[in-house]
Symmetry: C2
Subunit: 393 residues, 2 copies
Amino acid sequence: MINESCYKLGAEPSVIRSLFAYGLQQTALVGPEKVFDYSLGNPSIPAPGAVNASIKDIIDSMDSIQVHGYTMAAGLAGARQAVAEDLERRFGLPVKAQELFFTCGAAPALISVIKALAADVSSEIMLLAPFFPEYLPFVEQNGARAVIVPPDTGSFQLPLARLEALISPRTQAIIVNSPNNPSGVIYSRESLEALAALLERKSGEYGHPIYIVADEPYRELVYDGAEVPFIPCIYKNTVVCYSYSKSLSLPGERIGYVYVPGFARDAQQLYTAIAGAARVMGHVCPPSLMQLVIARCAGERPDLAAYDENRRLLYGSLSAMGYQCVNPQGAFYLLVKAPGGDSIAFSEKARLQQNLLLVPADGFGCPGYLRLSYCVSRDMIERSLPAFKALLG
Amino acid sequence: MINESCYKLGAEPSVIRSLFAYGLQQTALVGPEKVFDYSLGNPSIPAPGAVNASIKDIIDSMDSIQVHGYTMAAGLAGARQAVAEDLERRFGLPVKAQELFFTCGAAPALISVIKALAADVSSEIMLLAPFFPEYLPFVEQNGARAVIVPPDTGSFQLPLARLEALISPRTQAIIVNSPNNPSGVIYSRESLEALAALLERKSGEYGHPIYIVADEPYRELVYDGAEVPFIPCIYKNTVVCYSYSKSLSLPGERIGYVYVPGFARDAQQLYTAIAGAARVMGHVCPPSLMQLVIARCAGERPDLAAYDENRRLLYGSLSAMGYQCVNPQGAFYLLVKAPGGDSIAFSEKARLQQNLLLVPADGFGCPGYLRLSYCVSRDMIERSLPAFKALLG
């Protein structure tokens, strides 16, 4: 008498959450200095100062009824305008406020887009491995079928040949996540242009648009001045899902948006269907105070120095020990090949022998690899290095 | 190539929103003193002072990473504990923190419960007219069938005979909204006890529990010391959906919860399925700052004096003119019988002749009636009275 798949998804232990819980338990037992937790992707740098200053100023200077009142379903005009101007200035596209739909973070954004594109039960959404594991239930429980494209474990760039082999007349969209969780790779302009050409050809062949759904919570988390191409500039049938979780270190505040460029095919219909999907799932009017914050802070950028230091230290140290690591250009994850090839066994060994918590990337569609979240203290990384060394011995 | 029902729901003009938009337009044309907008249910009293004081204190005293970080999916332990203690103290039930699942307001709470109870496509959820119009897409777009029970326009209490005629072996739950939007009626203890007896009998007959889903955003908005019975005390198979939108005047902040009492049938399975439904719809971890506020303000209550004054003035004045009004005991709505019987025609006439914006209750399953939201200024009510008078002339 209860929805079986919801029950299973509620009961299913998340590998990441289980490791995290184990870490808390061990910390209590053996002390925090002996537990090395690389499980969670929770930002470890504070929000830019302007965020908390804005919150206080809004509370002090505005009428409480306005601050905390319902906004329009798609968000406050001022917040949408501020984001449109920021995107336009940075990417040279004519972004309009009415092309933006604010949501409670990237997950509701993605889910609303998926539901809007699930035209019928045969509709397919492609996931390019490695991918964020929640994509799978987001697609499969919201009316579409997930088609998984195995990773290119050579370059970790877009697996175009495999994608072409799996694309079909039922393909509605391809979720592209760059900088990528879990690999930290930024898909190159060249790779995205090749994808665009393929999708244009296939859209023509099948007689309908195939959208790119660009999931971009890590857009601003890049190192060494690397470029993250803005996909709507390369492929017009792109819908962008964004969250301020990582860029403003506000993961708990649930604020993000969908951007449907006016030049995308059937843009108006798609935007309308996304609004309808958001309505039936209760995703309208995200937190009003945070919308007001975004209206003031849309142009703020994080200070990435701490993440960058961690990235260099971890990548350099593990590579020097002999671990095969994917060199991360963005986000705050490092993907490491499991010595011996069995990521689940290696994760278990690391956990039990060293209190070192590494997430097997099997759930990310990338078996044989481990994901390390380096949004941690530099000190923990330094203390963890002997444990990594010992596991190779 | 786009989901048809999402498109329709996105494109469909909301009667309430259309009236509101018309009001803004007329205000610009003829001046605010000549437009009488009773359309929206947006609280018109500010949040209790403790709310904004808590926000500022949390920002000043806590670590920013903690304030704005992800919480557990079901919410912060401290917030859940504060709510559990508040409920326990007020209603004498042994409420536990782990029986609560925090959500982004009442709509996501309801939607997660509906999805969890949509065991298969034949699952039925009953809506008791008059009901909040969004219940219909919430049910029909999340895997269940809506069965509408017509209202008892005599007392506006629970329409038990009609409900009994429509209940079936496929009935999974009945949504009960008290104090009611749009009637303002509080379902009496006697009426709820009769419903409980009926559902116990039918559950036995059909061999499975039939849940009451108590949608309670107006629980604290009551007048003249009226009692709002807490339904889990009367019927054990009750799931409560709550929002702080109205009680703390925080509609924009998206904070509420689901309460699944441990003594409800299959409570653990149901809670788990609700968690799974929230996961696939992206309703996990509601705004972290607001969770911290609730941890401090769960016991705060609104100052209802302004609503109560409006209620007396509007009910008294319209009744004296000859309008047939349902006497509201709670919420901030007044349900009025449309003179002439055609609510849509009367609403049109009021709008065009008097700039008086009244919502036809047809969408609430209650044709022939008009809903007036009296969360407005007393001054506007006073200025609107001649318009009401003129419409009867």
